[in-house]
């Protein structure tokens, strides 16, 4: 009986304690940002790797020390849940003062008018340091709705021992031609080894971004008023992957069903000579590759050009925030070359500003693939699909299953073209 009584008392105590502590905490936080005392800004950061988190917190600490009247509170968020969180927070006016996201996601919120125009507040230094094509990716209805911070590109990672054994010269130019890549993959394919592993379980982002190498645009127009075009340039990349998989047999067909990270163990185990991955994978290779595993990041792939879609990570401010100017001031501070270089190095991503890119090159000496990764940044530019309202739905419901079927050799190129085109009519109501 005593145990039961104790358990009952403990439950009631927990209930009361829960009420008491939560009410007190609510009262404390509700005062932040009032007109009296320093302004407090909430910064929801999505920094992922520990060095980037530390670098981001160090930037906040330095800012807080230099700006006693504008204090920034660092809150750790997550990429996995940021969209759901922002849907509610922006619609209810409870979003953080500084929002960390990526342009593909944040643009939808911007088109609904939830984000402030930062262009009046950002300094000329910041504006000049970021390439025009990257600014385009964060410009909606002629408003700069975010500051672009970090970018990723698709790179070819190579097991240099396997390539050299196959007699393939490690390319060292500014870019690497698709034909040469295809030939190298075929040459490196043996009874035990595939030339390439390409994790394309979610293929649409890769096809629409890297397809720009072949002049693919897919969409014409912006917002709700956009038309699709699936012609030769748009089909060139899927056709090339299909040809390498089923004609050359230099891409492992099972790898096409994996995510990018799932294809890495096979690459590290010498099952594949090359793998196409996001540039940030270099961090994992530095961390996890065995000492006797020799790898390199190869120059960006190029056909008509080496262009890829710029989908930068972004810092935005809600239009309803009472402290837009102060938040933009912090973002401007965050964008300083040395700050951006530190956060870029931690997550192995490309800083949006050229000065920060130079700082990363100086810090790292260009080793471990940094030279090639930073070099690829100059080819990143806005892709037409990034301005299209119904693109996410087309990606999810139409393009992804259609491309998966094509890469599984279940439908022909003509059928793929028809599914992509007709599917757009369905999702866009056209």
């Amino acid at each position: 009986m005593n145990v039961k009584h104790l358990a009952g008392v403990a439950l009631v105590a927990c209930l009361v304690a829960s009420c008491a502590t939560s009410t007190n905490e609510s009262d404390e936080t509700s005062d932040s940002g009032d007109s009296e005392g320093p302004v407090t800004l909430r910064f929801n950061s999505l920094a992922f790797q520990e060095p980037t988190i530390e670098a981001s917190k160090a930037i906040v600490d330095a800012w807080n020390a230099e700006h006693p009247d504008i204090q920034v509170e660092y809150v750790q968020g997550s990429w996995d849940s940021v969209h759901d969180q922002l849907v509610t927070q922006l619609q209810t006016g409870k979003a953080p003062d500084i929002i960390h996201d990526e342009s593909a996601d944040i643009s939808g919120f911007a088109r609904q008018g939830y984000l402030a125009d930062l262009s009046p507040y950002l300094s000329d230094e910041v504006k000049d340091a970021v390439p025009e094509g990257v600014w385009d990716a964060v410009t909606v209805d002629d408003k700069v709705i975010a500051a672009p911070t970090l970018l990723q590109s698709y790179m070819v990672f190579a097991n240099t021992d396997l390539l050299q054994q196959a007699g393939v010269d490690i390319p060292a130019g500014e870019t690497w031609a698709w034909d040469d890549f295809q030939a190298a993959a075929a040459k490196a394919t043996t009874d035990d080894t595939y030339g390439v592993a390409w994790g394309l379980a979610e293929p649409t982002a890769t096809v629409t971004s890297l397809g720009m190498n072949f002049g693919a645009t897919f969409f014409d127009g912006e917002g709700d008023d956009a038309d699709i075009t699936v012609g030769d340039p748009e089909l060139a990349l899927p056709a090339r992957i299909h040809e390498m998989t089923y004609d050359d047999q230099s891409i492992d067909p099972t790898s096409l069903t994996l995510s990018g990270s799932d294809a890495l163990p096979g690459f590290l185990h010498g099952k594949y000579a090359m793998t196409v991955q996001g540039s940030y994978v270099a961090q994992q290779l530095v961390q996890d590759a065995p000492e006797d595993f020799h790898w390199a990041v190869l120059p960006p792939l190029s056909a008509e050009s080496a262009a890829q879609a710029a989908n930068p990570q972004t810092l935005s401010v809600p239009a309803e925030s009472p402290h837009v100017e102060e938040a933009a001031e912090f973002i401007d501070y965050f964008m300083a070359a040395q700050n951006l270089a530190k956060v870029a190095e931690g997550d192995w991503l490309i800083p949006a500003s050229s000065e920060a890119s130079d700082a990363v090159a100086a810090d790292t000496g260009g080793d471990n693939g940094w030279n090639e990764i930073l070099n690829s940044g100059e080819y990143l530019t806005k892709a037409p699909f990034q301005s299209v309202t119904n693109y996410p739905q087309w990606d999810d419901q139409i393009a992804t299953p259609a491309l998966q079927k094509y890469f599984a050799d279940e439908i022909s190129l003509d059928e793929l073209q028809a599914e992509l085109t007709d599917g757009w009519a369905d999702v866009s109501g056209g």
Partner: protein, 280 residues
Amino acid sequence: MSVRAHPTRTRSLQYVALAGYLIFLGFPLLWMLSTAFKSSQELADITPRLIPSDPILDNFGDAIDRADLVHAGANSLQVALATTVLVIAMTLPAAYGLARYKTWLRPVTLSWILIGQVFPVILVAIPLFLILDQFSLTDSLVGLTIVHAVYALPFGLWMLQGYITAIPRDVEEAGAVDGAGRLRILVSIILPLLRPGVVATALFTFIASWNEFFFALVLIQDPDKYTLPRTLVRFVGASDQVQLGPLAAGALLATLPSLVFFLLIQRRLTAGLLSGAVKG
């Protein structure tokens, strides 16, 4: 006939099926345990091993320090316990009323409860947020507890009214014949008989609240008030990047309290489930 003729073989097959089911249920937990002790190098190995070749404890340190697991665990415990107490306190009388007073309201109420369960939570997130905000209950563990309780109530009500229906009315009538009043019948006769049902409902409610992620994500913004699922998500990054070791270690530690809770009341739960399954 065949069952009687080969009782040993039938029993053996039952054990094989049971073992298979146990492996099906237990393997993910076992794999999580294994992953929690592996280094990132071993996790990147092409040959997966159940027994880590070089077990490490770093993932647990990472999970506890970086995700502030102890503090988040305390928040989760507060919310889950408070939700459980609230749900049991509210469902007991409601379930008794639904089970014993069989008017036209009963099927209507039960159908209404079922219909309420089919709406995706994302549909109600924004209006719920606005209502809670009116009462300063966003970014508050009290608000989260209320939401968890509201979402656990229908299922709890369904479970408990099934258990109450299974208790013969004769038992109550016998108590009345002996001179017991309504309250006395409820407290001294019904409640003790209902204990397995209450335990089962409490367990389901506790685990549902303990694991709940979406409302914790939407309602809680202050890191000091993060619950366990809310804090563990930090190990998942963009573009399929996952810090698998710390995530597995954190998830393993987060699973322990509900496992302990389950073990403590396992005997009563089994009795409760059986009675509910047969008669509910």
